[in-house]
């Protein structure tokens, strides 16, 4: 006789573990399957927008973030080859949502671990090192997986697929994605960045890299680089870590980026194709609902993946806890809201990528032009709002082809 929990969550990341917390606290029997033996740094997203923090609070998992090392970032600097030194401005990020401060940078794996502890304390069962997970959809879905003690099978009422960009569950149950790739990305944790102001996140483009720095306090920071697909293996192989750090030696950064290049690696370096995936239909089927990046995601440059994951988690949990009807039709509000949200984020992310992750003289000239336009007309900065407030709160004109056209064609 197989175990028959109410819910099986495949993937113990931010989406999965937060859902487990909420559902277990709501009285459902929950099993979480996580493929890692122990949570460790896999170089995932580590930035949560103010609206994402609000989602975390609504889900009752906010403390896991702060206790796990979450660090409020307050200012955003753009240091860029297209911005003259005397034009660099600090954007105050602390005032976008009343009751919430700036965005948060946090160590992903530490937060997942605390969240899974909270889920277990609420009554969920956490199965680490779950291998070869297969999901068969249906009114009574079947989940089988391997453990060090042999194979296991679960027959829950519903499965939440939360395996991230790997789409392990989605691919098995026939949910197809429209994928596109604009550039490559890489990331690494560093420490000893004592010369960097801990309140300040920075982004910018110079030469053929777009850099990001997200401080996590105490001289630690998560670094990400985005770069063109040509020469995509530049940070692979021997000396890759050194080349990655050396990429921050940029004329646009204060002191030519010495604060970063002198830092010490404090985690693995990971490099990936920056793919965005939009599902071709609803991200669910009979007995299976996808959440988080697995349900579709925008380009990582936008940094809203985790905020979305928490919104997904909250929306789906509210449906599961609010009604006995768990049929696909019951999730219509989730599907509808998510489609709307991803459409906006995907649109915004594509603007950001075209603007900041394209390289060469024409791209530099385009960034200069757009900056002039934004300086003249504040409303043109609308896409920047997408990082801070929930997608539905961003004015609609920012998502029209007309706006994009104007942004990119304007000859000022």
């Amino acid at each position: 006789m197989s175990e028959q929990p109410d819910v099986v969550i495949v993937g113990g990341g931010i989406a999965g573990a937060s859902a487990a917390c909420k559902l277990a606290a709501g009285g459902l029997s929950v099993v979480v399957l996580e493929k890692q033996e122990a949570y460790k740094d896999l170089v995932r997203g580590e930035w949560l927008a103010p609206w994402g923090i609000r989602e975390a609070r609504r889900l009752g998992v906010e403390d896991c973030f702060w206790d796990g090392g979450g660090w409020e970032i307050r200012e955003w600097m753009t240091w860029d080859e297209a911005v003259a030194d005397d034009e660099v401005e600090a954007v105050d990020m602390t005032g976008f949502i009343p009751g919430f401060g700036g965005p948060m940078a946090f160590p992903h794996h530490a937060v997942c671990e605390l969240m899974s502890e909270q889920a277990v304390a609420a009554g969920a069962r956490l199965e680490m090192a779950a291998a070869k997970i297969t999901v068969t959809p249906g009114p009574r879905p079947v989940v089988s997986y391997g453990t060090p003690l042999g194979p296991r099978e679960l027959r829950p009422r519903i499965v939440l697929g939360a395996t991230g960009r790997g789409c392990t569950v989605g691919r098995q149950v026939g949910i197809t994605m429209r994928n596109s790739m604009h550039h490559w990305g890489g990331g690494m944790m560093v420490e000893g960045m004592d010369g960097w102001p801990p309140d300040v996140q920075a982004m910018g483009t110079e030469g053929d890299v777009m850099f990001m720095v997200f401080p996590q306090g105490y001289g630690r920071a998560r670094l990400y680089l985005n770069f063109p697909t040509v020469n995509k293996h530049r940070y692979r192989g021997p000396g890759g870590v050194d080349r990655f750090l050396a990429a921050y030696e940029l004329k646009c950064l204060p002191d030519h980026g010495k604060a970063v290049t002198a830092a010490t690696p404090a985690g693995p370096l990971s490099v990936w194709p920056s793919v965005s995936s939009v599902p071709e239909g609803p991200p669910l089927t009979e007995g299976v609902v996808l959440i988080g990046d697995e349900a579709g995601n925008a380009d990582t440059v936008l940094g809203t993946g985790l905020s979305c994951a928490l919104r997904d988690s909250r929306t789906v949990c509210d449906i599961l806890l609010g009604s006995a009807d768990w049929s696909p039709a019951a999730f219509a509000p989730y599907v509808e809201e998510r489609e709307f949200r991803l459409e906006r984020l995907d649109f915004g992310a594509s603007i950001i990528s075209r603007l900041h992750v394209e390289f060469g003289p024409a791209a530099v000239e385009r960034r200069r032009r757009v900056r002039r336009l934004m300086a003249r007309n504040f409303a043109a900065q609308v896409t920047g709002l997408l990082n801070m407030v929930a997608p539905e709160e961003v004015p609609e004109f920012g998502f029209s082809e007309f706006f994009a056209e104007r942004l990119f064609r304007e000859t000022a």
Binding site: E62, F65, W66, D67, E72, G102
Partner: protein, 289 residues
């Protein structure tokens, strides 16, 4: 994890660790710690032939957390220690304190000379030195002033993911644990009440009587990396000690000596406790009838 017991003494539930057999040693932690601070010392002392008693002082860990400021006066807390040791049948323990625990230990030592064997103070010197702090020490103690505002300090410390608290604490002590401890109901207010009851500007105005001398043999240990408590506090404490006085400075440690330099602290404790003789009490002239 060492097993904790609980007793109700002096109007509060006190959780404590009680391990080993031999001459008793009482370990007193500070802010925002608990008996967990002593996890590296307890096994070493037990191994060295001591009975170790480490309470969670009121307001911390698993002990009671009264919410009134008045419940955290130094004398009340000294009485907690007296009541706890009496309850456990301990007459004359060695006392080892860190941070607020050191302040308590000093006070216990001069108020109850017959109820203490040896005294070890970590990081915090005699209250007599702290009664007239230098301007440098006042600057280093800025947070004590900040902690004075009921409700307001709590909110500002908690705001935006405990950002200010994290900046004050840095990565010292058990920094990755404090937030979860302080998230327990009433814990933050209870911890701050220690400062409110004993470190308010008003308390500085209160007339302090001359401190009775510490007769017990006393050892002061200070870490050169301590940013909150300056060396003057410990180095100048000797003048309040009438018994044998020894001062040790540990170079590669900050404020949290029991965690930063566990081996050196253990070695100093084992080499000091029970090795010296106290000063004689002043003979009071017999009153003639």
């Amino acid at each position: 994890m060492m097993e904790k017991k609980t007793v109700h003494v002096n109007g509060v539930d006190l959780a404590y660790v009680d391990e080993g057999e031999g001459p008793p040693v009482v370990l007193l932690h500070g802010f925002p710690d608990s008996s967990y601070l002593w996890r590296n010392q307890i096994p070493a002392l037990v191994e060295g032939g001591f009975r170790v008693i480490a309470p969670d002082l009121r307001g911390f860990g698993d002990s009671g957390k009264p919410q009134e400021v008045e419940a955290y006066g130094m004398q009340t807390i000294v009485n907690d220690v007296v009541a706890l040791t009496m309850e456990l049948g301990v007459r004359r323990p060695h006392l080892v304190g860190h941070d607020w625990g050191a302040a308590i230990a000093w006070m216990y030592a001069f108020l109850m000379p017959r109820r203490i064997d040896h005294l070890v103070a970590l990081s915090v010197g005699h209250p007599g030195v702290f009664a007239t702090p230098s301007i440098e020490q006042r600057a280093a103690s800025w947070y004590m002033l900040f902690y004075q505002f009921p409700g307001v300090s709590e909110e500002l410390l908690r705001r935006n993911g405990w950002r200010l608290f994290k900046e004050i604490m840095g990565r010292d002590g058990d920094h990755d644990r404090y937030l979860r401890d302080l998230a327990r109901p009433g814990a933050l207010t209870a911890g701050l009440n220690w400062y409110r009851a004993n470190r308010s500007p008003a308390s500085e105005l209160r007339i302090t009587r001359r401190f009775p001398p510490v007769l017990a043999p006393a050892l002061g240990i200070w870490g050169a990396g301590d940013k909150a408590l300056l060396e003057e506090g410990m180095a100048a404490s000797g003048k309040f000690v009438k018994g044998p006085w020894r001062y040790e400075r540990i170079e590669d440690a900050g404020h949290w000596l029991p965690l930063d330099a566990p081996d050196q602290v253990n070695k100093l404790l084992l080499g000091f406790l029970g090795t010296e003789r106290p000063a004689h009490e002043e003979r009071r002239p017999r009153r003639r009838l």
